[in-house]
């Protein structure tokens, strides 16, 4: 009984995490400019990582694998947002201004990654 419940919870977490990755991917492709894109992409770094790893930890139960998964999750949660921050900071320093335009504008070519 408890195993079934764990299974259901972990699969729900994995599915929601997968959906977050998908949303992040779509956002990275569809959003109008650089800053909104990394905003979408950072969803994969944080929310999706958290959900998918908790889901996998529930799958693996109490074992060494869980500990390793936890360590990897911690690592990803530390590095992902840092990388996003560094990316945004580098873009700002190199002169890409965050402006509230909506895409089909003169800044079109600036937004290419």
């Amino acid at each position: 009984m408890i195993e079934l419940a764990l299974d259901v919870v972990s699969w729900v977490l994995l599915a929601v995490g997968g959906a977050c990755v998908l949303i992040g991917g779509i956002g990275g492709l569809r959003l109008p400019n650089f800053y909104t894109r990394i905003h979408a992409a950072s969803l994969t770094d944080t929310m999706a990582t958290l959900l998918i790893f908790v889901g996998m930890m529930l799958q693996s139960g109490l074992s060494l694998a869980t500990l390793k998964l936890f360590a990897i999750m911690l690592f990803l949660l530390l590095t992902g947002p840092t990388a996003t921050y560094a990316l945004a900071n580098a873009a700002l320093l190199s002169g890409l201004k965050p402006e509230g335009d909506t895409g089909q504008s003169k800044h079109g070519e600036n937004t290419q990654p």
């Binding site: 690592f75 530390l78 590095t79 840092t82 921050y85 560094a86 900071n89």
Partner: protein
């Protein structure tokens, strides 16, 4: 199911390769090369090559990218487009691709246990490793004992390449009189990466040491560990500036690592000969031949790790120092 994932990864691999060749921005090309290596590592892992995946991820995605970027900083980011038709080149490689694909139908199916490659010495290695060395990781056993000569050669190639880079880039540039190297600030104005990076560097080095000494039991060994430790120190150099990294791990230490690692490997072989065995026959190192093998493998893996780590870091510093020279 895993094969569907492999299919997806392989398709991405082809797309990335085409994108690398198409783009004229070399910076983008280098970044894509890093992604290419990561995809390749995932593929290796699916194909059961955990050791190779670890190496490719550490070397291909980590060290190669940094070396490429430091070379780009010296040569410029943009490639000039080549005018004229590309029919000849496309035709040549197209015909070659067709020939290779045609030839692939003669190859054994993926995973066929009857394939010729699985009939030769590999089963013997798998069978004899528990008897001769009694270590779980057969890859490490073959790498450092059964094919120890081969690995010795590879270590000396790495050594020679490192010395070559130092010679080529060590020459003072002709045009300028040696300008005083301005202190490199690193990422002083990037507080968050610096704080997080400082936190991570010790763990990366610790993980490298784990990979080094756990190489007999799990995926890992000297090559991977050397690359991982080198990436840790390179991260430190990127965060704190090159001068600071050189203060932590000076050039003399790096050279000592390269030379010492290669020498250590060779010395083990000589000691084996002095003790009455053949060159690199570790069985004679201890009274118990199995323990002798384990001891030999541990020592030469340490030699490999030292040589690789020292060589990669020396190469990185050679490129980085060139930047401040010119």
């Amino acid at each position: 199911m895993i094969y569907v994932f492999a299919l997806f990864l392989l398709t991405l691999l082809v797309i990335t390769a085409v994108a690398i060749v198409r783009t004229e921005n070399l910076f983008v090309a280098v970044m894509l090369t890093s992604i290419f290596s990561l995809l390749m590592a995932a593929n290796f892992f699916i194909l059961d090559a955990a050791d190779v995946a670890l190496t490719e991820a550490a070397v291909g995605a980590g060290v190669t990218t940094v070396i490429f970027l430091s070379a780009l900083a010296l040569t410029g980011d943009w490639e000039k487009p080549r005018p004229g038709g590309r029919t000849v080149a496309l035709g040549t490689v197209g015909v070659l691709a067709m020939l290779l694909i045609y030839a692939s139908f003669d190859k054994p199916r993926l995973g066929d246990p009857e394939a010729p490659v699985h009939q030769h010495v590999a089963p013997w290695y798998l069978e004899k490793t528990p008897e001769y060395m009694d270590i779980p990781n057969v890859v490490t056993a073959i790498l450092s004992s059964f094919r120890g000569y081969d690995t010795l050669g590879e270590v000396f190639v790495v050594f020679a390449a490192c010395i070559g880079v130092l010679f080529i880039l060590g020459v003072k540039p002709a045009r300028q009189t040696a300008a005083a190297p301005q202190p490199v600030s690193g990422l002083r104005h990037h507080l968050i990466p610096q704080v997080v990076g400082r936190l991570l560097v010790p763990f990366i080095v610790l993980f490298g040491l784990y990979v080094q000494f756990h190489g007999e039991y799990g995926p890992g060994g000297g090559f991977q560990a050397g690359a991982i430790i080198a990436t840790g120190v390179i991260l430190y150099a990127l965060l704190e500036g090159e001068a600071e990294a050189l203060r932590a791990v000076p050039r003399s230490v790096l050279l000592a690592l390269v030379v010492g690692g290669a020498l250590l490997y060779g010395a083990v072989g000589v000691v084996c000969m002095l003790k009455g065995g053949a060159f690199l026959d570790y069985s004679v190192l201890a009274a118990d031949p199995v323990f002798g093998q384990q001891l030999g493998i541990l020592v030469i893996e340490a030699g490999v790790g030292m040589a690789v780590c020292g060589a990669l870091l020396s190469i990185f510093h050679a490129f980085a120092a060139r930047e401040s020279m010119t």
